[in-house]
């Protein structure tokens, strides 16, 4: 593994918020400049670019990278719904590990419209029948979990209590306000058992990540964060089964654990896809932190708090930091990098050495392990 690792050299974020007066290109450029400054390199050192975005993506990557400079590098748009920029980072890591490039940059951007995500332009059958309801998919997984394991609606709501508490400690979070369990449970019901405050908001924002080879890192940083293993996938067909997951997270986590020599017990903090609160309850099981069915009590008992056994979404997660779809994966990498460098301030997980990332988008899933 040594000398074959990929290094996170720089990370940057534009605070997740609302930017009616800024274009997607503005947001992407600002995040990229922050990452370049963090890495201590020039844009002309970047050899390939990946651009994660979900909506209005045509030509957008080339435009955004073109704002930073034009030295002819290949730029590729990557669209894996809500897992776009982490997939961009995976592709960059593949190329760096393969020896094709020393330095790659990922920019993730989204400017989202307010309100519930719709089914797209043409009204399809699912949309007309009221079934294009994204929280509904998570709600059905939650209901099945409640039926099988006796999980309670308070368990799911507690995810959001914790995420909002963490968001208060994160200057880049969209929402920096604590919410009580009662406020979350009593907010408007969207899709039973998911209430409004258990849904991620719509957000504008951008993230950028610079990955490099271990060889390059030795000359450019004294505080490398290593990306040691990664795996990506899409759903695996099982006859007659209504899955309790958005994609093959467990399979990918096992691959990453095997490739890195790590086990769930070695993970110090987790960035996990909590677009809706059941995401964390299901995710801690699939990533191996507790047994199937125990995710509810695991969260309820405080294990995923910053000072808990397995801190999850220390930056507020999708629920509180916000979820500008194309930017989310890069924001997850940013938080893990800052934690592993010991730069996370009031939300620092003490002595964090291993971080695990899980990012999912309409069945496409990425799992990545980071180490110092």
């Amino acid at each position: 593994m040594s000398d074959n690792r990929v290094v996170v050299l720089g990370v940057g974020l534009v605070r997740f918020s609302r930017y009616p007066d800024k274009s997607a290109e503005d947001l992407g450029r600002e995040a990229a400049l922050a990452a370049l400054e963090d890495a201590g390199i020039d844009f002309k050192d970047v050899e390939a670019g990946f651009y994660g975005r979900v909506e209005r993506v045509v030509g957008a990557g080339m435009r955004t990278f073109g704002e930073l400079g034009q030295h002819g590098i290949p730029v590729t748009n990557v669209e894996v719904a809500c897992a776009s920029s982490s997939r961009g980072a995976l592709l960059a890591a593949d190329l760096i590990r393969g020896g094709l490039y020393d330095v790659c940059m990922v920019i993730g951007v989204e400017k989202m419209e307010r309100g519930m995500l719709g089914g797209g332009g043409e009204a399809g059958y699912q949309t007309q029948m009221g079934m294009f309801l994204l929280p509904g998919l998570y709600a059905m997984m939650a209901q099945r979990h409640m039926y099988l394991y006796g999980t309670k609606r308070e368990h799911f709501a507690q995810v959001s209590v914790k995420s909002h508490r963490n968001g208060v400690l994160d200057p880049n979070a969209q929402y920096q306000k604590e919410l009580t369990l009662e406020e979350i449970l009593n907010s408007r019901m969207v899709a039973d058992p998911i209430t409004l405050y258990q849904c991620c908001p719509t957000t504008d924002g951008a993230s950028s990540v610079i990955l490099c080879s271990e060889r390059y890192a030795r000359q450019h940083t004294t505080r490398p964060v290593y990306l040691t293993a990664w795996a990506a996938g899409t759903p695996i067909y099982v006859s007659g089964e209504s899955a309790l997951a958005e994609g093959p997270t467990k399979v990918l986590a096992d691959k990453v654990y095997n490739a890195s020599g790590l086990g769930p017990e070695d993970v110090d903090l987790v960035q996990l896809h909590d677009a809706f609160s059941p995401g964390e309850v299901l995710g801690v099981e699939e990533l191996g932190f507790c047994r199937p069915g125990e995710g509810g009590p695991f969260v309820w008992e405080g294990n995923t708090e910053i000072n808990g056994k397995k801190p999850v979404n220390t930056d507020g997660g999708l629920l509180s930091r916000g979820h500008p779809m194309g930017a989310t994966g890069g924001a997850m990498i940013t938080e893990i990098t800052r934690q592993l460098r010991g730069e996370a301030g009031p939300r620092q997980v003490r002595g964090a050495k291993v971080g695990l990332l899980h990012n999912a988008g309409i069945g496409g899933v990425n799992v990545m392990a980071f180490q110092v």
């Binding site: 309100g115 519930m116 719709g118 089914g119 009204a123 059958y125 699912q126 949309t127 007309q128 029948m129 009221g130 079934m131 294009f132 309801l133 509904g136 709600a139 059905m140 997984m141 939650a142 209901q143 099945r144 039926y147 408007r188 019901m189 969207v190 899709a191 039973d192 998911i194 067909y237 006859s239 007659g240 089964e241 209504s242």
Partner: protein
């Protein structure tokens, strides 16, 4: 064609989308979902698809699924999503059919708070709107039995 002739056209029952379900044409015939069956491994799929997810067989047979089913999981939609013809509150369920097919569907009018996992359901067709010619546009739903 004159307006008079158009007015005299009999009202028909038309599907919200072609190719998803079969509308009964004779009394006693049950509505059916139009599915695919793999001639090699016997796996069923709804909606129809070209290639078997079980064994990779290209070219599947048409099959008709009439139920009954049971609720594998569900949620109560309390907000009407954009573009929906169905008004909240309503239940969205994953229904398991005897052919080991999971179908996502709205449940036909019921007390939304009474729905539970494992409840038996039957396939029904229901009017969801009228088209410009005054025809009844129908969609499939499942109904608690």
């Amino acid at each position: 064609m004159t307006a008079t002739q158009a007015d005299e056209k009999p009202k028909r029952v038309v599907p919200l989308r072609e190719g998803l379900f079969r509308i009964p044409t004779s009394p006693g015939e049950k509505p059916a979902l139009i599915a695919s069956r793999c001639p090699r491994c016997g796996e069923h799929f709804f909606p129809k698809r070209a290639i078997c997810l079980g064994c990779g067989q290209v070219g599947l047979e048409e099959a008709y699924l009439t139920g009954p089913g049971k609720i594998s999981t569900f949620t109560i939609a309390r907000m009407t999503p954009p573009g929906s013809l169905i008004e909240a509150p309503y239940v969205i369920a994953l229904v398991e059919l005897p052919e080991r097919v999971i179908v996502a569907s709205v449940l036909s009018g019921c007390d939304v708070d009474s729905v539970r996992v494992d409840m038996p359901v039957e396939l029904v067709l229901e009017k969801v709107k009228e088209d410009q010619e005054g025809n009844d546009v129908v969609a499939f739903k499942f109904r608690l039995t």
